[in-house]
């Protein structure tokens, strides 16, 4: 099994290491540069832990001006730069390389302004996703996109990956909740894209930057949309005797024109893992489980749940568990949101992220099971079913290279299946290095070339996060 490659380190950069470290130290305040080999280790990977590269140095600037100074310097000497938020990327998006300066935003973690009348917040890129909602919660607001990693991940990383979460079915993903950014371009120029106005003039550069995986510039500030918290929210649990029935039920709920806030899916292995960890009261004797959450006043929630339960009954739902209290609701969600962490405690896993048309859910679940079986592996499926965003967690033993290779191989086959049924490689985790070499399965050569050309308009030398997203062969010459 071939390992995913990185660009070969530039000898010219490696040989100047000491000089570069000294120059960066001049550009940054004390305590903002990491370069001792031992201290660099925590930055060698992200949540895609199978791959590690120790960077040349890590810059942890405190201001936009310092970010600009570092970029300007790196641009001048063509030193690769890898932006980093909290390093929770599941696709290797924040993994550095030996000749790279990691630009970490962790010290820029302030909420700069909250403006309820305009329902916006201006925050620094290193603020965590949850910190935004926490800051406005007492006043009755929240920031909608809610990745399960929200306690740790940063808004800068969310913008990098255009992250989603369970509640994005109703509220949209990061790009739909982002109004503006302060962006440092590769040469150190600072630009403001968008702002508190609902649309910006000219080309939609903000739309392009969101999800660009740190390849178009460094985000130092973001203006995000706040939403008034609903009066109430209530999840219901459904247990089914087969994954296919659960999948078909999801498609029917959407087709009925009901848009709940969230529809989450778990298969039997995932249920067992989450239940053992969180004690959420999930039924243990069903093959698949759906968590469907609705919002509104008591009367509205009753109304919607009645229609949803009726649809589930048509699909032979066996267990229906309506949450009776806020504590119960929280417990139901705790089980779901700890799925990745809980899985990590029992095995090593890689998390796939393909998205498929809803009608294909049952078909792809079947196909996934078959691929996994053929490779002699185990899988737990837990995902955002309402928008077709699947997360098979492929379990393996990282100490067994053969097992690891088969897991990667199975993952690739599953993603190809997603593309072949009309879906895509990644719905919210990004391409990173993980899916980079599958890009040609989804895009024709001309399509990829067009994307790369646009990327090059921002970064002609390809120094921003250069080993990611686009296959290493066939890139335009700098």
């Amino acid at each position: 099994m071939e390992q995913i490659g990185f660009l070969p380190p530039k000898a010219a950069v490696l040989s100047r290491r000491r000089e570069i470290v000294a120059d960066l130290a001049d550009l940054l305040p004390e305590g903002c540069l990491v370069h001792e080999p031992r201290e660099l280790v925590p930055f060698e990977t992200d949540a895609f832990v199978s791959y590690r590269r120790v960077p040349l140095a890590v810059a942890l600037p405190e201001t936009t001006a310092q970010v600009a100074a570092v970029l300007k310097y790196c641009h001048r000497y063509a030193i690769p730069v890898v932006p980093r938020g909290a390093g929770t990327s599941l696709s290797g998006g924040a993994i550095p390389q030996e000749d790279a300066v990691v630009l970490g935003l962790s010290k820029m973690s302030r909420i700069l302004e909250v403006d309820y009348a305009n329902r916006t917040a201006i925050v620094q890129a290193g603020v965590t996703n949850l910190a935004i909602s926490d800051a406005v919660s007492a006043d009755g607001y929240f920031y909608a996109p809610d990745p399960s990693s929200q306690l740790a991940c940063t808004i800068g990383g969310n913008i990098g990956m255009n992250s989603g979460g369970a509640h994005c079915l109703k509220y949209g993903v990061t790009t739909n909740n982002l109004l503006g950014v302060k962006l440092v371009l590769v040469d150190g120029t600072v630009v403001e894209l968008g702002g508190k106005a609902l649309d910006a003039p000219g080309l939609d550069l903000l739309g392009l930057v969101c999800g660009s995986e740190g390849q178009l510039g460094i985000v130092t500030e973001a203006t995000v949309r706040l939403i008034a918290k609903p009066e109430g929210a209530r999840p219901v649990l459904f247990g089914f005797d087969s994954s296919e029935e659960a999948g078909a039920c999801v498609a029917d709920i959407i087709a009925a024109g009901i848009i709940p806030v969230a529809i989450e899916f778990m298969d039997k292995p995932a249920i067992a893992i989450c239940e053992a960890f969180a004690g959420a009261g999930y039924p243990s004797d069903v093959e698949a489980l759906l968590i469907v959450e609705v919002e509104g006043s008591e009367a509205e929630m009753d109304d919607m749940l009645r229609s949803i339960i009726e649809i589930a009954r048509r699909h032979g739902v066996r267990v229906v568990k309506e949450s009776q209290s806020a504590t119960q609701a929280a417990l139901i969600w705790k089980g779901r949101k700890s799925a990745f962490g809980a899985t990590g405690r029992i095995a090593d896993y890689i998390c796939m992220d393909g998205t498929v048309p809803l009608s294909q859910l049952p078909n792809v679940l079947r196909g996934t099971a078959e691929i996994i079986e053929r490779h002699g592996l185990r899988v737990a499926n837990v995902f955002h079913a309402g928008d077709g965003n699947m997360h098979p967690l492929i379990l393996f033993d990282a100490n067994d290279p053969d097992d690891a290779a088969r897991a990667e191989e199975a993952g690739n086959e599953i993603l190809k299946l997603c593309v072949d049924v009309g879906g895509c490689l990644t719905g919210e985790h990004g391409v990173g290095i993980e899916k980079r070499d599958l890009m040609r399965h989804q895009y024709a050569e001309a399509d990829l070339a067009q994307q790369m050309a646009v990327r090059a308009a921002f970064d002609p030398q390809w120094i921003l996060n250069p080993s990611k997203v686009f296959p290493l062969e066939g890139r335009p010459a700098a």
Binding site: D115, A117, N118, R119, T120, N162, V173, T175, L185, V191, G195, K196, A197, L198, D199, A200, P201, G202, L203, D204, L205, G207, L208, C210, G211, S212, A228, P230, I254, A255, G257, I258, G296, S297, E300, D303, T355, P357, L358, S359, D387, G388, G422, C424, T426, G427, E428, G430, V431, M439, Q442, Y443, A444, A446, D447, Q450, A453, R455, A457, F458
Partner: protein
């Protein structure tokens, strides 16, 4: 006289583009021809008129794929059969611009034209899942896809949305749909001045009643919608949509809260549909004149401050959508571009587009908001990557 090319296929469009490039003769892209977005300047026209038709409609998945030249009307008719709609309420500017033509779905996305629901449900770009286009090098390109969530590579679909024919020729679009709400109502608060209305709208938006439209029609405008049937005095209007029982409950809650601002009345679903269509399509200024009309986008609480500042210096009339963030500004005489943009800047930024004016004023006024130098330079570099020969007009 400029030639009109209306290819029957993407391949034919690519051939036209290649030969135009070879001949060094620039092109102007046209959808339904309902507005002239950049100065055509005697260019040959590349029209999507013959690239028409719905390619795939999957009501159960709430997505549709259509060729770019498909008339909006045809799409609306297909959606109506399944009680679905476009979330972003595309606007029809023909009445206010005094133009003809047939709005097309490609034109809607190329202009990112978005109506009242924009401030809660997103713009056209937020509904766009995938595109096919022919770039200025004659290459047929696909971007995005047909699933709801997709972060595979750069989001070129967003770049094409709102690009106004400056980058490439859109040939096909795939977009998401929403169910038509079962019921709708509008809460009307009467007699508020612009500043009071801004406060009332902000309060409404802070409530958990899911307002899906928030507009303010000052007294000068109030009589020009709904055939003058709105109660006397300025009208601040708040739309609620959803299941009938839910709309009723929320209407009661919102009415109670709004009563502290002014006299409250309620419009039913029929009147609601008409009112919001007229607000969206700028019906109040469809007055058959060419008096200058600006579309101004600012932070919602700033809209009324801008208008108040301008009033001290020149004759203006205005009304507000998007909670005050979208200002339709009609000037009495001259466009006063410099003045309008100076105040927008002073009040925290935003942008103004001149939508209508006399031919002379259109020709001498910077119609689009001038951009910061670094952004304009970046936009030019991006354009060069899609349209290396500069076949299509630039515009930012």
């Amino acid at each position: 006289m400029s030639v009109i090319h209306d290819p029957l296929s993407e391949e034919a469009a690519a051939r036209i583009i290649l030969s135009a490039a070879a001949a060094g003769s620039p092109l102007q892209i046209r959808g339904g021809g309902t507005r002239t977005l950049a100065q055509a300047g005697g260019r040959d026209i590349l029209s999507s008129a013959n690239l028409s038709g719905i390619v795939a409609y999957n009501p159960a998945e709430m997505t549709m794929t259509a060729r770019s030249g498909t008339p909006l009307e045809e799409i609306a008719a297909a959606l109506e059969k399944h009680r679905q709609m476009l979330a972003f309420e595309p606007l029809d500017l023909r009445p206010v611009l005094g133009t003809g033509g047939i709005p097309t779905i490609g034109g809607v996305f190329a202009t990112n034209a978005s109506g009242a629901r924009r401030f809660v449900a997103g713009a056209a770009r937020d509904s766009l899942l995938g595109v096919r286009f022919v770039n200025g090098a004659g290459e047929i390109i696909k971007a995005g896809g047909r699933v709801m969530k997709n972060v595979t590579g750069l989001d070129l679909a967003k770049l094409l949305a709102g690009s106004r024919g400056t980058l490439a020729f859109l040939t096909e679009v795939t977009f998401r749909l929403l169910p038509v709400p079962e019921d709708a109502a509008t809460i009307v608060v009467s007699g508020l001045n612009d500043a009071e209305a801004a406060a009332a709208m902000a309060t409404a938006m802070s409530m958990t009643v899911e307002v899906s439209g928030a507009a303010h029609l000052p007294e000068s405008v109030r009589g020009r919608v709904l055939g003058g049937r709105l109660p006397d005095g300025a009208a601040t209007v708040l739309r609620l949509e959803g299941l009938a029982a839910s709309v009723a409950v929320r209407a009661e809650k919102l009415s109670a809260a709004m009563a502290s601002f002014g006299a409250v009345s309620v419009l039913d679903a029929g009147a609601t549909a008409q009112l919001w269509r007229e607000i969206r399509d700028v019906q109040p200024y469809a007055d058959g004149t060419a008096r200058p009309l600006w579309r101004v986008s600012v932070a919602p609480t700033v809209g009324h401050q801008l208008v108040a500042a301008l009033r001290l210096e020149t004759g203006v009339d205005a009304y507000y959508d998007w909670q005050g963030g979208l200002v339709w500004l009609r000037m009495e005489a001259n466009p006063e571009a410099e003045l309008v943009r100076r105040y927008i800047k002073a009040l925290g930024g935003g942008h103004a587009t001149l939508m209508r004016a006399s031919a002379a004023a259109m020709a001498t006024t910077p119609v689009l908001q001038p951009q910061a130098e670094a952004i304009a330079a970046l936009s030019t570099r991006i354009k060069e990557k899609l349209d290396p020969a500069g076949l299509f007009p630039a515009g930012w």
